[in-house]
Amino acid sequence: MSSPAGGAHVPGRPGGHPAAGATPPGPGMPSPEPTASGEFDLEEAIHQVEAEEHEGRPPAAGLLGNLVVAAAVVVLGVAAVVGSLAFDAGSARSPEAGTWPLVVSVVIVVLGLGLVATARRTTDAERFGRTSWLVLAGLATMVVFVVLIPVIGFEIPAALLAFVWLRFLGSEGWRTSIVTSAALVVAFYLIFVGALSVPIPHLF
């Protein structure tokens, strides 16, 4: 599903977060049935809906994974501190180009250390698994697109991208994939090159 007002994901924990109290019901099937006592617990019901939203997601990452994430944040912060020190750090009285980046970088380091400290309690990171290869493949098609576009124009890379996404990432049939990707390229050509005359590199 799409995400909430403002692009944040539906509040909740991805992966393996058990529905509070109850076993999550099957996809599409109900229900927030009031408990035996007849009392409808709002908080519990919200948890349940959120858990269902995450049902198709990979499981949560372990302690090691969380520590790696936290360490990555710290490393990023340290790198930014080093980078900011290359500029004039200035002082509170006369802030220079490096002052603000330095402040922000130090905050990132501190917060990263906070993540290290709370790594044991973190449950909202997902594990990388077999499905992550799909994402890598998807990214690869985009990289190929960027690299090829100045050389051979957008038509072939676009058709290739659409075909890979449809056939291999989306498991559509061969015929649907071929027809849809060809139709897409024609449509994009007509809109961007024909109607809008965008100077995007193209073959024809």
């Binding site: 909430p4 996809p27 198709g56």
Partner: protein, 504 residues
Amino acid sequence: VDLAPVLDGFGVVLQPTNLLYCLIGVVVGMLVGVLPGLGPAATIAILLPITIGIEPVTAVIMLAGIFYGAQYGGTITSVLLRLPGEASSVVTVFDGFALARQGRAGTALGIAAVGSFLGGTVSIVALSFVAPLVAGFALDFGPPEYTALALLGILLVATVSSGDRLKAVIAACLGLLLATVGRDGFTGAERFTFDNLSLADGLDFVPIAMGLFGLGEILYNLEERHRAVHAPATVANVWPSRKDLRQSSGAIGRGSVLGFFLGILPGGGATLASLAAYAMEKRRSKTPERFGRGAVEGVAAPESANNAAATSSFIPLLTLGIPANATMAVIYGALLIQGVSPGPQLVDQEPELFWGVVNSMYIGNILLLIMSIPLVGLFVKILRVRATILAPITVLITLIGVYTVNYDVFDIGLVVVFGALGYLMKKLGFDPGPLVLAFVLGSLLEDSLRRSLLLFDGDPTGFLTRPISGTLLVLFLVVVLLPVIRAALARRRSTDRRNTKEFV
């Protein structure tokens, strides 16, 4: 209140082009709310390139339409499929789906549409009165006030955001850091450009928003096993009956007012509002046991509240120049690209833009009400469109769309990089919303901080000597410290309990 600019605003809205873009906006918004895959922030980000060639008013009218239109659309999936399209529709699921199972899906959708319309309209009227007042109040804000306001705004959005608060604040800091890339406005020194000419002018907002929200979300969805969707074939009796309307009129009224006030707050206004409205109706009800089992008020209250909140969340953006959520941050970015900087001077200096956008919401809400009641059947059919076919279309629109902004292949590379980052962030529990928000506010925050420090001669306590910046900073500290204190108290309580047990 001077009425002339307000009426001129209607003149702006009624121009055929603007009406057309308003219609496009609300239809797209409604589709986005219904279709799987993308949220309003992502959609607005992806459509940024097409706003560049058109008038600022027209552009924002369309983008705003997408935003509140999505609130209508999200209801449909909540009621019919028990899948909240938006976080702000989560509570609608309980009674909405219960009604649907009793064969009253039409009633739920009809009441939601009427509630949304009334909530939105009440909120626009209130906005028309409140916004100029807030803007007038903020007119003499100086750099210290803006520093405090931007800090508090970013922190609140990060705090209310989903998931881990610490991670959200880290994401915001990353956004602030990214905003420093390029030439420093004060000294001309190049920062984090790695001698790359394309980075010298700083990172563009468009590829960042399109990558983090658009591509990031599509890549993230690739890892999801697709659930079978069982939409009912038809939905009958969408017109709510007189009895349903009477039953829910109080809920709609209270929800609208509550939504308006909560929406002004930075953070998850619409989400918070729908939750609070639902809880309030349940508490007030003489028959609370009906809630969760198909109470019409349980649909009416949150839907009125989230629409009212979506509308009033424009107030901080249009009057203070501080976006209240990630979608508003994207609209802020769109305005900046157009050369309009939102702030307290907007009402006076660009009355046509201000009142044009505000008044377009009346039209948009009417269009949505007209569309959503008779066209529910059509939207139910759209639910069957497969995400696997939409995904490559969206990816290509993004990659080619970002090129059309500067005709630069570098931007396509940038959007892919930020797409990868957006995926990683979502995957690892970092909400990209605060990053984008902090990025758009980054240069404003740095500028005002540096100006304030010069003003105070390097003494940070100077912020506390001015009433408004002082109050805002105290609030900032409260928001920072409150969760820490609460966590510490909770831990102490649990150890206390353990100790007592040992004694016994």
